[in-house]
């Protein structure tokens, strides 16, 4: 966190000053480790074994926050008799289809109950599960599932959890992760000791947890720990996702993702819906806040198509684009290679450096008809066609590349108005300080005027297919010499309006009858009373410690979500020290430091009457309002593509044979077979031609693919050359010289780096063998003030099946002293590299 979020890390230092203990788990000793109270190195890619060990520690030692667990999680829920755990089946859960490499989830259900998808309509099992939302499972008319509050039933979630993690002992953690038992136990005990009624503990992670073939399950494991310890919905608790950019949270809320509409509403599939009602019916949950999905969806359609959207025409539902499969970034790149994708927009993205297997990406870009790059400088992705390594090696030649590249200079954040949404869901407005220079323009400017020009060109068209564009509400006031659209006008549209044209105050005011509009239901309220709430800057010392008048947090300016869990089932604070929101019996309403997560007038003993819908169907003791059963899910009956409980699999590429299961890697991981994307053989220890664990990361001094830092002299000089970090032991083993050159090799390519021999990356003892890890930052490319190879060149594309994020954080490689082959010799060298014997089939094991 100190490496990637130095500014945010000031609050960790502040917490330390107030007595907090900071524990850092990372394969490398980083800047964070340097100031942490304890650093625990582990083998990259083994976090589920590690965190599963903590779950085991909690359960074995009865350290769970029992009342919280019974009341607020699905620990007591009884699971179907058909369910077979991975423990009893060599590492694979029931419902796995070997041929397709996917799970069919009916056996994971609650007993006697079909729990519909937890995230909108996934088409599980067909390999087409591309829709995504955040809905709770659907409970038939609010009927609660079978439960055993004593947690003794052999098929209740609590007992299943116990059995699943029984073998994840401190000994096993040492064996798999290479973490000495005493270090692991110190961490586990510290977590337990800092949880419960009086205390809370938080977990923070960055992309180190997400960029794995089991990334979502990493976060799930952390969620299980925090639910068991009662650390969700309470001050000082939670799981904090430290995002990779300033507003990545914002770009999932108002998504740049192909399978989501704004506010986590699933993008409709081309073939699955008869119309709007059918779509709502299949995606809304009868209980919880997703029960009002019709209101959110209709308000969105009204924001898009205004008066043209009417009840008679399904509010223009048929105008929405449709998806027909996996159109995620990597799937699109594979489709480019196959000639199926003709054009590509890269606004501020530099895949020729920043994406796994960047070499393959350059081949993909060379297969396009056209490419639009909007960035601050001519990045590697804009210049691959005349300046790339494949030109040097002769594998591509400029006249032979048909891609027409349009480069459009972009404005920086100080040159435009707008908001950042941080990991706390906090929107903070920023005002333009200066106008962008020359031809540089904001994204808002670009997309508004692009739309305006296209609409002008189509104005006379009577073709039916142009109606969605022509009927759009596209009237935004522009200002200044550059005709910059008014960003606050867009914010007002995102917030939405009532029928009388006044701004909505909250998403609870949204209607399904077309009388309200609202571009992003979760952001509704950000422009309440016609005021840009995100622009508020009341200093902390002028308000309560929660600081509700600094910026604005979605939803409803709520600073901690699921805050019902901060009070006990009777509505009273778990402890005075940790009080947050509570039931005031005299006033007959919820009160406290934050906006309650539910109707303020709902008493803790509220029991929904039969036939209740949406949020009214959740009882007064169900904090997880987005879940249909109102519970925190320790066990996920539906919504995940790779198992209901996190399970340790080795990374797709690992020098270690899975010590826990016969199954080596995540059986449901998503592969991208292609001649440019071969795999290294996995397992096998010393016989492996790629015997070292490789992990990639960023440095404080650079930003991602370097477009914003390698071009800036004062940043470029701070880390001027690509380097790899190796231990003195590995340096001795391979004859690497500190400060000299090394060549790193995977089945994809060979790259060269300066050698930094350091004690900060120590060899680990894993399953009786020494495992060496090699660290490489990925910021360099062939352009900019400082250049070099990128660590991402070494990586293959292999993805988490839920979110299609590639396994950047762990792979294997070999390392040799000296520089790599150049020019055509590099192409010949790559052709001769050892690859996994037979290209792994989808879902199969290599």
């Amino acid at each position: 966190m100190a490496e990637q979020h130095p500014v945010g890390f000031q609050w960790v230092v502040e917490a330390q000053r107030r007595g907090a203990k900071v524990i850092h788990v990372d394969p490398r000793f980083t800047r964070t480790s340097a100031v942490a109270d304890l650093h625990i190195p582990l083998r990259s890619g083994t976090d589920i074994a590690y965190l599963g060990g903590i779950i085991n520690y909690i359960l074995t030692n009865h350290r769970e926050f029992r009342e919280y667990v019974v009341a607020y999680t699905n620990a007591a829920t009884i699971v179907s008799e058909e369910y077979v755990d991975a423990e009893d089946n060599g590492g694979i859960f029931s419902g796995f289809d070997e041929r397709s490499g996917t799970y069919e989830v009916s056996s994971w259900q609650y007993e006697d109950m079909e729990v519909a998808s937890a995230s909108g309509q996934h088409e599980m099992g067909a390999g087409l599960g591309e829709q995504h939302g955040a809905h709770g499972g659907s409970l038939e008319h609010g009927q609660p599932p079978s439960e055993d509050p004593t947690l003794e039933h052999p098929r209740c979630v609590f007992q299943l959890l116990k059995r699943h993690y029984e073998r994840y002992t401190p000994e096993m953690v040492a064996e798999v992760c290479g973490v000495p038992q005493e270090l692991f136990l110190e961490h586990a005990e510290a977590l337990c000791a800092n949880s419960g009624r009086e205390r809370t503990g938080a977990m923070a992670y960055a992309v180190g947890w997400t960029q794995h073939s089991v990334g979502v399950q990493y976060i799930r494991t952390a969620a299980i720990i925090q639910l068991l310890l009662g650390n969700i919905g309470r001050p000082g608790g939670g799981i904090l996702a430290l995002r990779g950019h300033a507003s990545i949270q914002g770009s999932t809320d108002i998504p740049t993702l192909y399978n989501l509409l704004p506010g986590y509403i699933p993008m409709p599939h081309a073939e699955h819906y008869e119309g709007l009602d059918d779509y709502i019916d299949k995606n809304a949950a009868p209980t919880g806040y997703w029960g009002n999905m019709d209101a959110y969806m209709v308000s969105l359609l009204k924001a898009y198509w205004g008066e043209k959207a009417t009840a008679e025409n399904d509010f223009c539902f048929d105008y929405l684009p449709r998806i027909s499969g996996d159109h995620s970034a990597y799937a699109s790149v594979m489709d480019m290679l196959d000639g199926k994708v003709k054009g590509y927009f890269l606004p501020g993205q530099n895949p020729a450096v920043g994406s796994a297997n960047s070499r393959m990406h350059r081949f993909a870009l060379a297969s396009l008809d056209w490419l639009v790059v909007r960035d601050f400088s001519l990045t590697e992705s804009a210049a691959f066609w005349y300046d790339g390594p494949e030109i040097e090696s002769g594998e591509l030649d400029t006249p032979g590349i048909g891609t027409e590249v349009f480069f459009l200079p972009a404005a920086a954040h100080v040159e435009k108005d707008g908001s950042f949404t941080n990991t706390q869901r906090l929107l903070q407005w920023h005002d333009a300080a200066v106008e962008p220079k020359g031809d540089c323009r904001s994204e808002l400017w670009f997309y508004y005027h692009l739309g305006r020009i296209i609409r002008e060109k189509l104005a006379t068209s009577d073709d039916e297919r142009d109606r969605p564009l022509l009927d759009l509400t596209w009237e935004y006031p522009v200002q200044g010499r550059q005709s910059e659209p008014d960003a606050e006008a867009v914010l007002a549209e995102i917030n939405g309006w009532k029928a009388d044209g006044s701004p909505l105050g909250s998403y609870t005011e949204m209607q399904a009858d077309g009388s309200t509009t609202g571009g992003v239901w979760i952001y509704c309220g950000v422009y309440a009373d016609g005021v840009n709430q995100a622009r508020r800057r009341r200093p902390g010392d002028e308000q309560s410690w929660v600081a509700p008048e600094w910026g604005w947090a979605w939803p409803a300016n709520r600073r901690i979500i699921y805050n019902r869990a901060s009070a006990d089932p009777d509505g009273q604070p778990w402890s005075e020290r940790k009080r947050y929101v509570w039931w005031d019996a005299e006033q007959e309403q919820w009160t406290g430091e934050d906006v309650p997560d539910f109707k303020a007038s709902m008493p803790p003993d509220y029991v929904p009457p039969d036939g209740s819908q949406a949020e009214d169907a959740l009882s007064g003791t169900e904090p997880f309002i987005m879940q249909a059963d109102g519970k925190g899910w320790l066990f996920v009956p539906n919504g995940l593509k790779d198992g209901p409980l996190p399970t340790h699999y080795e990374p797709h590429e690992s020098p270690v044979t899975n010590p826990l299961y016969k199954q080596q890697a995540n059986p449901a991981r998503q592969l991208a077979p292609h001649r440019h994307n071969p795999s290294n053989p996995s397992g096998g220890g010393g016989e492996n031609p790629y015997p070292y664990v490789l992990t990639t990361y960023r440095l404080t001094e650079h930003h991602t693919a370097g477009g914003m830092s390698r071009t800036v002299p004062h940043l470029a000089e701070l880390q001027p050359e690509f380097f790899c970090e190796v231990s003195p032991e590995l340096a001795a083993e391979r004859g690497l010289e500190h400060g000299g050159w090394a060549t790193l090799i995977s089945s994809r390519t060979a790259i060269e780096a300066r050698v930094l021999v350091t004690d900060r990356i120590a060899p680990l003892r894993v399953a009786g063998n020494t495992v060496h890890q090699i660290g490489v930052p990925y910021h360099w490319g062939f352009r900019g003030l400082v250049t070099g190879d990128s660590g991402n060149e070494l990586l293959g594309v292999v993805m988490d099946p839920n979110v299609h994020i590639s396994e950047y954080k762990t792979a294997t490689c070999d390392i040799r002293p000296g520089r790599r082959p150049r020019g055509p010799a590099l192409a010949r060298f790559i052709a001769d590299l050892p690859r996994a014997d037979d290209a792994p089939t989808e879902g199969g094991d290599s």
């Binding site: 230092v13 000495p180 701070l718």
Partner: protein
């Protein structure tokens, strides 16, 4: 410490005396982000010049100089630390992660942002023949770039190796303690940019108190090697305007343990020279007298 130390130099001759301003750099919370280096260069328009991998941990700007006015040192420390080894005479090469219980906790990565010390007796200023270097009303030491003629006398005079000549222009450059910002009632760029309050800025008296308090806290937490660094009024520089909390001996960070201003003993030297000269004259007179005899 005496009031004379924290007050502006009595010899500076300012009528409207300001309190002496200075830094307290608390290296125990430095995360090595280098925001200070960048903010300093941006504000003071210092060129980037070094584009080479140094191999010195994460430090590629290497040290203070004409183009580096704030510099973050990175020191990777394997146990036992230097002074412990020196004391015990035993140097056991324990690896992080292999030391068993507590072994890892003893590996340290020290980070420290170094800067000009703005000495009370500033030898750079004392030796400057053109008057380019002067003491400001905040008792900080600043080079006037339009007066410096590049003679370079100041460079060997600084016992900390702070001031240096810029190769392409010949003049001497160093930290101004953001004199222009201080004039505008703003804190220096490095302190402003520091996210963890490792760099603190204010009246030197307050900095001294803060440093002492912080040392107590760090000592209570049993951080090995914690100590304050910064010449006091009775030291070789007669006091400095940049105080540090270090986690090891100054030498570990490349700082001189006992700096003395080269000009501090000039008077004494002249007196000694005068005595020697007088003695020589006396001897010569005596010898001539002898000849006559």
């Amino acid at each position: 410490m005496s009031a004379g130390f924290t007050a502006p130099s009595a010899t500076s001759g300012y009528d409207d005396a300001q309190p002496r301003m200075g830094f307290f750099t608390d290296t125990s919370v430095c995360i090595g982000c280098k925001a200070c280096e960048v903010a300093c260069k941006e504000w003071n328009d210092i060129p980037a010049t070094l584009f080479e991998f140094s191999g010195k941990s994460y430090d590629n700007t290497v040290g203070l100089g004409a183009d580096v006015w704030r510099h973050v040192a990175f020191i990777e420390q394997r146990v036992p630390r230097i002074q412990e080894a020196a004391l015990s005479g035993v140097f056991t090469e324990e690896r992080p992660g292999e030391g068993g219980e507590g072994g890892l906790a003893d590996f340290r990565w020290l980070m420290s942002s170094d800067v000009c010390k703005h000495c009370t007796t500033a030898s750079c200023l004392d030796v400057c023949p053109t008057g380019a270097l002067f003491k400001t009303e905040f008792a900080t030491v600043v080079v006037q770039e339009d007066i410096c003629n590049g003679c370079g006398y100041c460079i060997p005079a600084c016992p900390y190796g702070v001031i240096d000549q810029r190769k392409d222009d010949g003049r001497a450059w160093k930290c101004t303690l953001c004199y222009d910002r201080l004039k505008g009632d703003l804190e220096p760029a490095c302190a402003k940019a520091c996210p963890t309050d490792s760099i603190n800025f204010g009246p030197l008296e307050a900095m001294e108190r803060m440093a002492a308090e912080r040392l107590d806290t760090v000592m209570a937490a049993h951080v090995p090697g914690a100590q304050l660094y910064g010449d006091g009024p009775s030291g070789g520089m007669d006091g400095v305007g940049s105080l540090f909390l270090l986690l090891d001996q100054p030498e570990v960070y490349g700082l001189p343990p006992d700096p003395v201003a080269v000009t501090k003993h000039v008077g004494q030297l002249w007196r000694a020279a005068a005595v020697a000269g007088a003695a020589l004259v006396g001897a010569a007179v005596a010898s001539f007298a002898g000849v006559r005899r």
